[in-house]
């Protein structure tokens, strides 16, 4: 810098620059010097020194040029010196700013590399809870039926034989009782009647109709019990949702329409439905209700060839029993069988959940292993 410093300390006259040409050469020399020094400003400290050396108000190079070259310049040179100075100033300021930006960017890079989060690491894991899958499936069923005007009712799990059997048109020694092996309670000596664990949610049909007159539309979720030895498809406790609709104008067509609506909502609109005649003492006509197999889309064949393992090649899956309420049942609740009609159904919640989620062992529902519970958030 020494030559530039010494030159800017002198006037142009002292430098023998009375013509524009030597002035241009002087400015070119200063500018070359600046560009050479700029490269040396490699961090914040050296950059500040560099900036002050050139732009410092008291003794910066540009101030020196203004004071020593421009101000004393002869009137004929002043314009040329002024223009050259402005050009130099613009260059110096732009370069110093650019240098600052470059230095800051480099500093940020270092810091950010240290601070940058590793997105492959987990966040803070707070414990979260979950609904049991049986509950989730029931809520889905409840949502579907609430939309079409079915209220929710409930009833006791410990029942009298009257509600569980007799009032549902299942007298003692009816052969259907053989299919519903029943748990009975041990009661103190002298108890007037028996108590049992309900084998279906149907007793709540009777309890509901005893309490209200038609129109009736209810669904009844709950636990039911059958004295079956436990295995992959049997649990001596499982869950049903009973449905009951009674009114003055309900026909079989309303019944199938309601069930079809439910199945389309639950399994999807592409699922086909089928009703097969069956027998239950408390419905007539009674049906078993089938849906087209959701695993093979009703084709009966598995994707890899061979029979579909879920529907055993039938293309249909048996879902639940249902039917028009048997007029004998109305006799137990003082409804006029000649004036009202209705339908009832009993959906197995566990079975629907097993079908929908491909669960092959009913026991896992009730073991409550957290690894199972976690799968249904």
């Amino acid at each position: 810098m020494s030559s530039v410093e010494s030159k800017t300390a002198k006037t142009l006259a002292a430098l023998d620059a009375a013509q524009p040409q030597p002035v241009v050469a002087l400015f070119a020399e200063v500018r070359a010097r600046f560009d050479a020094e700029a490269a040396a400003a490699h961090d914040e400290v050296s950059w500040k020194l560099f900036r002050d050396a050139w732009l410092g108000r008291k003794s910066g190079v540009l101030t020196q040029i203004t004071d020593n070259w421009l101000k004393p310049a002869s009137p004929e040179l002043k314009r040329a010196v002024g223009a050259a100075l402005n050009e130099l100033r613009a260059h110096v300021e732009a370069q110093i700013e650019a240098r600052r930006v470059a230095l800051e960017g480099a500093a940020d890079e270092t810091t950010l590399a240290r601070e940058r989060v590793d997105l492959s690491l987990p966040g803070v894991v707070r414990p979260v809870g979950s609904r049991h899958i049986i509950r989730q499936v029931f809520e889905e069923i409840e949502r579907i039926f609430l939309q079409i005007g079915f209220s929710v009712a409930e009833g006791p799990e410990i029942e009298s034989p009257y509600y569980n059997f007799e009032a549902l048109n299942i007298p003692e020694f009816h052969p259907v009782r053989d299919d519903m092996d029943t748990f009975y309670l041990e009661l103190p000596k002298g108890a007037p009647g028996q108590l049992l664990l309900r084998t279906h949610t149907s007793p709540v049909q009777i309890r509901t109709m005893e309490k209200q007159t038609p129109p009736v539309r209810v669904i009844v979720p709950g636990k039911v019990y059958r004295r079956d030895n436990p295995d992959a498809t049997h649990s001596f406790m499982f869950h049903q949702v009973e449905g009951l609709a009674v009114d003055t104008d309900i026909t079989f067509c309303d019944f199938t329409g309601t069930i079809e609506y439910f199945v389309h909502e639950f399994f999807g609109p592409g699922v086909k439905t089928r009703f097969r005649p069956s027998y239950f003492p408390f419905t007539e006509p009674s049906v078993e209700f089938d849906a087209s197999c959701i695993f093979c889309a009703g084709r009966g064949t598995a994707a890899g060839g061979g029979a579909c393992s879920k529907c055993k090649g039938a293309g249909w899956i048996e879902l639940f029993g249902a039917g028009m309420v048997d007029p004998a049942v109305y006799g137990f609740v003082n409804y006029d069988a000649a004036k009202v009609s209705g339908f009832a159904f009993g959906i197995g919640i566990d079975r629907l959940a097993m079908l929908k989620y491909g669960i092959d062992d009913i026991q896992v529902f009730f073991q409550n292993d957290v690894r199972f519970l976690r799968q249904f958030p």
């Binding site: 894991v125 005007g149 929710v152 103190p188 079989f252 067509c253 329409g257 006509p285 009730f366 292993d369």
Partner: protein, 694 residues
């Protein structure tokens, strides 16, 4: 029942493949388990509902197919050659219990040759799943499978006096049945006896006895074909735990009219297979003959139930094919499709369960095809309502899930021994009279017992941290009544916070359980805690939970004694609360909730580091501060607690943080100093508290 398709073809000229027939049967009420191809052709597994005993023979299913395909059903009219000698002279029958046995026919075949059955018979029986025994016994089984009516063959010469007496069993009576077991009998069971009626030779409608059994030395056969009362048969089978092909058929209701025909058919077959001569006629005691029933069907009723009409011709063809002999009886006879159309039908003897108009409606609908009734969407006339407590239950469930608890569902059957560990003394357990096992002998008296089992399952399966809840019921007896109570169970074990990249691990403690319960209790205006808990809880780490004066339940760490019995090797925390009062309080608190304006002036915090004697509770400190009546003391909190270093034995250090705030002004330093001084002085005086430096 295994149905040999070729056998059906003997009665109906079926041309459809077996698969088609099976599918049509399935869609008209006969459940089909599957089809297999064998030496005898297709065998269909038919799963019959209990109301259709008439289909427990091939002829009954042939009748179904004749109605489905509109093909004629061939009559069964056996005409076996008879000898000059009459059956009446060779055997006598007396029914002493007509309430148990409505009909008893007897035929006698003399000079038979008992031998193995020919191949065609053995193979057909085998295809139908029945083992071949000898030609005469096979003949009875063949007719049972063909017509659906069970028969029994006696060795005529072993029947004393050639006389049959039908009576009910005597108290304490015993007999040895064909399966070689001695059976204990009871009155109400129908016995077939011989001679003077003292010796039983068979349990009517269920199983014969060994003493008059057909053997290879049998020369003469007495053929029984009877009808037994279904309810009595079902009682008897349940009492004896003896279920046979015969008892299934009689127990569901056989056709009394068919008895004589089935006997004749069987005699024909015996003559064909074993030779001999059939004595003329039949000895037929028939006290239970039923008058034929008439049933009406109205189109208006059909429409009311089914919603869509069926043409006259279809109705009549279906009912006729099923044997109901419909006759139009309304005034508009001849007007096809009349809404006033009515038919009078005759109940066939094989369809005793069809008695009412609704039964006929079902018959027409199921054969006509349920798919012909188009689905329609019914209109609701009332708003739907959820259960009264549904909203409260949902809020509670959401809160618990937010606190990290997973919902479980349990089977309430537990071992009595386990139930006893948790049962409050005042609760009477609800025991089962017929449990499947001791392990499931009683319904839980508390939901804590099943929650402990769920934690135990997880610990035994390597899941060391779990937070679970159940919304369910517990079951108790009150005198002769059952009481089911809605309860919430909480269970937790392992770590409240797992060790991770950012946090150290922290074990779940009583404070976690209390905090979580209080977070739920906030919905109901807050729980109140009182010392002590159930006997199954750790005496120093438990509490009773109250809402006002109502006790909801207990919470705490499982007592070590109980944990050891359950082989739980880490601390387990449990709670059980009554839900109904909680739901009521949640609704009430929700209704009463009002906005409190936010404070406009700043609050000032003061910490008091106190040295207190063990046993002096935070509540006591708070009470003393509150007793000063400083309105500006807007909250009193415990901020820190420790024992040990620098704290003398028998004492502990508690940091109490008091927040001062005025709704009307900013508090001055002088006011705060004044409040603080009063607080310290009073705590020192009333609780012996010492203010610690710093």
């Amino acid at each position: 029942m295994k149905v040999v398709y070729n056998w059906l073809k003997e009665f109906v000229d079926l041309t459809a493949p077996a698969e088609d027939a099976a599918s049509r049967l399935a869609l008209s009420g006969t459940n089909i388990g599957g089809i297999e191809q064998g030496a005898q052709g297709a065998v269909i597994e038919a799963e019959l509902t209990t109301n259709r005993p008439d289909c427990l023979g091939h002829y009954g299913l042939a009748r179904e197919l004749s109605a489905i395909y509109r093909l004629p059903l061939k009559p069964v009219a056996p005409k076996p050659a008879e000898s000059a000698a009459k059956a009446v002279g060779a055997v006598r029958v007396e029914i002493q219990s007509p309430e148990l046995c409505g009909r008893f026919t007897a035929r006698v075949i003399r000079g038979v040759k008992i031998q193995p059955s020919p191949a065609w018979l053995r193979e057909r029986l085998e295809a139908a799943g029945v083992a071949s025994i000898n030609n005469v016994v096979d003949a009875t089984n063949y007719v049972m499978l063909e017509l659906g009516h069970a028969l029994h063959a006696f060795d005529y010469d072993l029947v004393r006096d050639h006389r049959i007496v039908v009576r009910q069993a005597k108290p304490g009576e015993k007999m040895k049945t064909l399966d070689g077991l001695e059976r204990q009998l009871t009155p109400g069971i129908c016995m077939v006896c011989d001679g003077d009626g003292t010796r039983a030779v068979g349990i009517g409608g269920i199983m014969g006895g060994t003493e008059t059994e057909i053997s290879f030395s049998t020369k003469n056969v007495l053929l029984e074909c009877a009808w037994f009362e279904p309810v009595a048969i079902r009682r008897a089978t349940r009492f004896l735990r003896l279920y046979t092909e015969a008892s299934t058929r009689f127990g569901r209701g056989a056709d009394p009219e068919l008895a004589e025909l089935a006997s004749r058919r069987c005699a024909e077959l015996i003559l064909q297979l074993a030779g001999g001569e059939l004595l003329a006629g039949v000895v037929d005691a028939y006290p239970g003959k039923r008058a034929p029933k008439k049933i009406a069907l109205h189109r208006s009723e059909f429409l009311r139930i089914m919603g869509v009409d069926v043409p006259d011709k279809e109705i009549e063809a279906i009912l006729a094919a099923l044997g109901f002999a419909p006759v139009r009886v309304d005034a508009q006879r001849g007007a096809a499709g009349s809404l006033l159309a009515a038919w009078e039908c005759a109940q066939p003897s094989w369809r005793a369960e069809v008695e009412r108009e609704i039964d006929l409606i079902e018959e027409v609908a199921r054969i006509y095809g349920l798919d012909k009734f188009p689905p329609r969407f019914p209109v609701a006339r009332k708003a739907a309502a959820r259960l009264p407590h549904a909203a409260a239950e949902e809020r509670l469930r959401e809160r618990l899930m937010g606190l990290g608890y997973r919902e479980i569902v349990t089977i309430p059957h537990v071992a009595e021994e386990r139930n006893e560990l948790f049962r409050p003394a005042e609760a009477t357990p609800a025991r089962l009279a017929n449990p499947l096992s001791e392990e499931a002998g009683v319904l839980r008296s508390t939901a804590a017992v099943t929650m402990a089992a769920a934690l135990e399952w997880n610990l035994n399966h390597g899941q060391r941290s779990a937070r679970l809840f159940e919304i369910g019921r517990h079951y108790r007896l009150q005198g002769q009544q059952s009481v089911e109570t809605r309860v919430l169970a909480l269970g937790a074990t392992g770590e409240a916070r797992e060790k991770g990249i950012y946090d150290a691990a922290r074990a779940f403690s009583f404070a976690d359980l209390k905090g979580d319960l209080d977070a739920a209790g906030a919905f109901a205006g807050g729980f109140r805690w009182q010392p002590e808990g159930g006997a199954w809880l750790h005496p120093a780490r438990c509490g009773r939970v109250f809402l006002g004066a109502q006790e909801l339940g207990v919470a705490g760490q499982l007592a070590r004694r109980v944990a050891e019995r359950l082989k739980l090797r880490q601390d387990v925390f449990l709670a059980e609360l009554l839900l109904d009062p909680l739901y009521v309080a949640m609704r009430a608190a929700g209704d009463a909730r009002r906005f409190v304006p936010l404070p406009r002036f700043p609050a000032v915090e003061r910490d008091f580091s106190l040295l207190l004697a063990d046993g002096t509770s935070f509540a006591a400190v708070a009470r003393v501060i509150q007793s000063l009546g400083i309105a500006e003391a807007s909250s009193i909190e415990a901020a820190d607690l420790f024992r040990g270093k620098n704290v003398p034995a028998g004492k502990y250090s508690l940091l109490v943080r008091v927040l001062f705030q005025s709704p009307t002004s900013t508090l001055t330093e002088a006011q705060i100093t004044d409040f603080s001084g009063k607080i310290v002085a009073t705590l020192e005086k009333q609780l012996g508290a010492q203010l610690r430096a710093g």
